[in-house]
Symmetry: C2
Subunit: 243 residues, 2 copies
């Protein structure tokens, strides 16, 4: 399984992904799920992959291959809008699925995958898309300015309660890390390291990108503080009348 979050806020974007892939519990390995495509001053595009690893890797490999060998073709690095980026990713998804799907289904393998695609291209505000397995896609809305993919349920309540379009990037980052910690704690198939990228609106460069390994001191302090806060918060709730 996987866990990825993308938030599109007034101040910019927060994107995070775990690094555990598995084909059964006896076949777990690490593979980063965040890929960054940047041209300083002009665009930053980030993809977060979830689902079948060969599908999502090869979608990106195909796009990288073409960017190098077919520079005239529209790709992530020369698309004119994030809408067009999402289209390109969706088209590549369909192309790779078209190549592999029948073979995967023959082997009883789930051929699906999806991408969170966030970024900003000069001339636009930052935008965030969710590209589905079928190659179609949706864009985040002001009312729910985030997408999650993979093992989404454990970490959703904290996002539902705290995040809105106006949440600042620091608060949103803390909230995203808590959401990851809740998920990792409750589900074995989601695991560190956690990749985090915080993109400041109109910066057109990647200034904040961090990888949190398992024993990371900051991540551990977030976890400890959060556990204490939760216990205190429950204790401080109003008591039932019979108590």
């Amino acid at each position: 399984m996987t866990y990825c979050i993308g938030l599109n806020l007034d101040e910019g974007l927060v994107l995070a992904s775990d690094s555990r892939t598995n084909a059964g519990v006896d076949h777990i390995r690490r593979a980063g799920k965040m890929r960054v495509f940047a041209q300083e001053g002009e665009r930053v595009v980030v993809t977060l992959s979830s689902g079948n690893l060969s599908l999502t890797q090869n979608v990106l490999n195909l796009l990288e291959h073409r960017a190098r060998h077919e520079p005239e073709r529209i790709g992530i690095l020369n698309a004119q809008s994030m809408f067009q980026v999402a289209q390109v990713v969706g088209d590549a998804m369909r192309e790779i699925r078209g190549r592999d799907e029948a073979y995967l289904r023959d082997g009883g393998i789930d051929p699906s995958g999806s991408f969170i695609v966030g970024g900003q291209i000069a001339g636009e505000a930052p935008r965030l898309f969710l590209v589905y397995s079928e190659g179609n896609f949706i864009e985040s809305a002001a009312e729910t300015p985030f997408f999650q993919t993979g093992e989404i349920k454990f970490g959703k309540p904290i996002l539902d309660r705290v995040i809105n379009k106006h949440t600042d990037l620091v608060t949103a980052t803390k909230c995203a890390l808590v959401s990851f910690d809740s998920t990792i704690r409750s589900n074995l198939s989601v695991g560190p390291p956690i990749d985090l990228l915080v993109y400041k609106r109109d910066s057109f460069k990647v200034e904040i990108q961090q990888r949190f390994e398992d024993g990371d001191a900051y991540l551990q302090s977030i976890r400890n503080h959060w556990n204490d806060s939760m216990r205190r918060a429950v204790a401080e709730l109003p008591s039932p009348e019979w108590a």
Copy 2:
């Protein structure tokens, strides 16, 4: 869908269930999922149902029918231990499935269901079981003194973080209600009213049983306090180094 929680703690049991059943989003109705079997001074047994409503209702109907018409037969009201109660429930599950399953599968209907069964019979400590669709069952352990059924993921992190065997009944009740609120907020198919029963160890009677309707003032105050606490708790987390 459904959400049920049972906690088996040093001080006693906390049991809670929602009341929404659905056969598709256009066919939602209310049906309590908590059933209490009590003989004051001697036993209190509580069942929480999830899954196919005809299966779980008829398991209980069968047990009630037999308790009345075949009093010599071992049932919930005369079993000598909670282990035997779980056996009786599991056997009834198999009996009803045997009667209905082929017909349900013919109609493409999921014939599965499960019960959380908690209670205390004189001579034993309180015990908590999870009876599976197949009629087999497990008992809660000191390390993880709770069971959830149905839509379990949204409300699991708060239980994982707060509940242990020594948690007092008031704290456990608040925590269970927060777990319900998180689930209801994130999933349309789980809905109020919430049935709550708190059983004090060695009391052998039902003293605390409440139904929280949607607009319930206490439930609302829990929800508001919790939202405030979460936002404050995120704000108070240590900031990343780049902040």
